[in-house]
Symmetry: C2
């Protein structure tokens, strides 16, 4: 029931995933609104519908979300937690999905907190930025865990071997940065990750690192600032173009190239962003997700399962973090 085009586009996305990928969804939400769509599409009775009478609204607080136990989101989270579903896909309120992911589904036992990783585009490939909003105030151990999660994501999902891991800071040299960075640096150095050192803001889109670790406060701001910079740049270029006839013709000729670039640059194009380290895959799609985006999100959730992401992550937490580091934080 979440997102701007629910339930219509969400249901259609599940049908696409079924038809094109052979993946089954359980549709959780208002049965009276879901069933007619299935009927119209000739799918009645072929996808399970679990009724949930309530809907989480935008801007509901985490505690509200956890109290509203008959919301479609909460019920869906429960289905996952109880093993009746293998993952959660939602186009709803990001904060609410995070809350359900963290507190209803929970993280794998080796981890204290799950984190959101996004694969940001750069001229050479992709860089995983983690965490981008699941954890606001972090301790060094959390950042170390994020590094291992990011490493696993880069290796298993993006296919990068021995990913180069950095910690986001200001200044390249060890010893530069804020208190959190200075305390985390030695932990990363002592780990068996391919830790390269401090990454700076300019490294995020430069392809110099495969994984860049930061707390969710900084990461979320960077992510949102980047999106808004993209919009502002396009808007300002359009304004300049409007001033000249030749430039307008030029823009027309360039449009296919620009669209192709936009597609590459849009990190949600591939199906939303994952809450990594949750017990089961949790994929948060854009609120404006259409059927295709929902289909892609289901595909991504399935990829985490087929790549045995969580098993690999649990192993990596064990093998990449040396005993003495673990002991220091026990």
């Amino acid at each position: 029931m979440g997102g701007d085009y629910a339930p219509e586009e969400v249901v259609k996305g599940c049908l696409l995933a079924h038809r094109e990928l052979g993946l089954e969804s359980i549709l959780v939400g208002d049965r009276e609104r879901i069933e007619p769509i299935l009927q119209r599409e000739g799918f009645q009775g072929r996808l399970e519908v679990v009724h949930a009478p309530e809907v989480v609204q935008m801007e509901e607080t985490p505690s509200n979300v956890l109290r509203k136990k008959s919301s479609s989101l909460y019920v869906a989270g429960k289905l996952v937690k109880e093993g009746r579903a293998d993952g959660l896909v939602s186009a709803g309120n990001t904060g609410a999905v995070l809350t359900v992911g963290k507190f209803v589904i929970g993280s794998i036992e080796e981890l204290e907190r799950p984190a959101i990783g996004v694969a940001l585009p750069n001229p050479k490939g992709k860089t995983v930025l983690i965490d981008v909003g699941a954890n606001v105030d972090c301790k060094p151990l959390h950042l170390l865990h994020f590094a291992v999660i990011g490493h696993t994501y880069a290796e298993e999902i993006l296919g990068i071997s021995r990913p180069r891991v950095g910690i986001l800071s200001i200044g390249e040299e060890e010893g530069k940065g804020n208190e959190l960075v200075k305390e985390t640096y030695p932990l990363l150095k002592a780990s068996r990750l391919n830790f390269v050192g401090n990454a700076e803001g300019r490294d995020i889109y430069a392809g110099t690192f495969d994984v860049i670790v930061c707390d969710g406060f900084v990461g979320n701001i960077i992510l949102k600032a980047s999106e808004s910079l993209g919009f502002a740049v396009l808007h300002m270029i359009k304004e300049e173009v409007q001033k000249s006839f030749l430039a307008k013709v030029g823009a027309l000729l360039m449009r296919p190239a620009l669209n192709s670039f936009k597609k590459k640059a849009d990190f949600t194009e591939y199906g939303g962003i994952p809450l990594l380290g949750a017990e089961k895959p949790v994929i948060i799609t854009h609120g404006r997700a259409n059927a295709k985006a929902i289909r892609n999100a289901i595909k991504v959730a399935n990829e985490f399962l087929t790549h045995r992401f969580n098993e690999r992550l649990a192993e990596n937490i064990k093998t990449l973090i040396p005993q003495e580091v673990k002991a220091r934080w026990a």
Copy 2:
């Protein structure tokens, strides 16, 4: 002696400022390298040269910078501190200029720390982001001061009346954000600033705020990430364009519009970034600054003087921060 094209372009920039704006510079550095340039340009004896035998290198630590008392940067800082010069312009190592600005020149007495503010472009105008790198770990009082500095910058230099001030956070509502934001929020609310509330990453380039306050760690990363995103986007668009003949023609037709946009978007175009709240104007130009950029930086330094920026800032610190807030932090 700082920057990629020193002393040649720096000296020429000072000559431009003299010829075109009537502004006098004292040239601090290696006399044997500076005099021949003046001679060649027919300016010998018309601009004061103060000899400084040493040069601050890139990546020197702050303590090194402060020990190297005969470097051009340190000597220039001293001239400003002693009142022999009215401001400092440097194309050198940003960290070193900051160090000299903070510890040799110092901040006005009403302030604990100066901060770097940049006026970032957006479709509606400009937004001041402050601090973008002078202060890594901050306390709530520092952020409150940055807000007043940013307010004064927006009002006096950018000509925005009653600038809308926000604090950078994740989530719009009061109570959202990290510990620092949550502690600073009530101080800003109690101030006489036009405090609007939390700003999110997406507000930085949206024109929804005139001043956005953050600690120098977050601000610096955003600034550098934004620059690198700009480069990455241009690079990736170019790659797409290369794939199609029509797109190449289109790009050619659009070039003047793109250049005009680039000029608007380049916040260093106007002459570098100011360390605000230092006792005298300190302007840090890009290391690649050419003569024109140096001229512009001198012009900006002069603007701070003619606008009586520091006097207005000192007044604002007194009038915009209520007594009870000051008392809480005494």
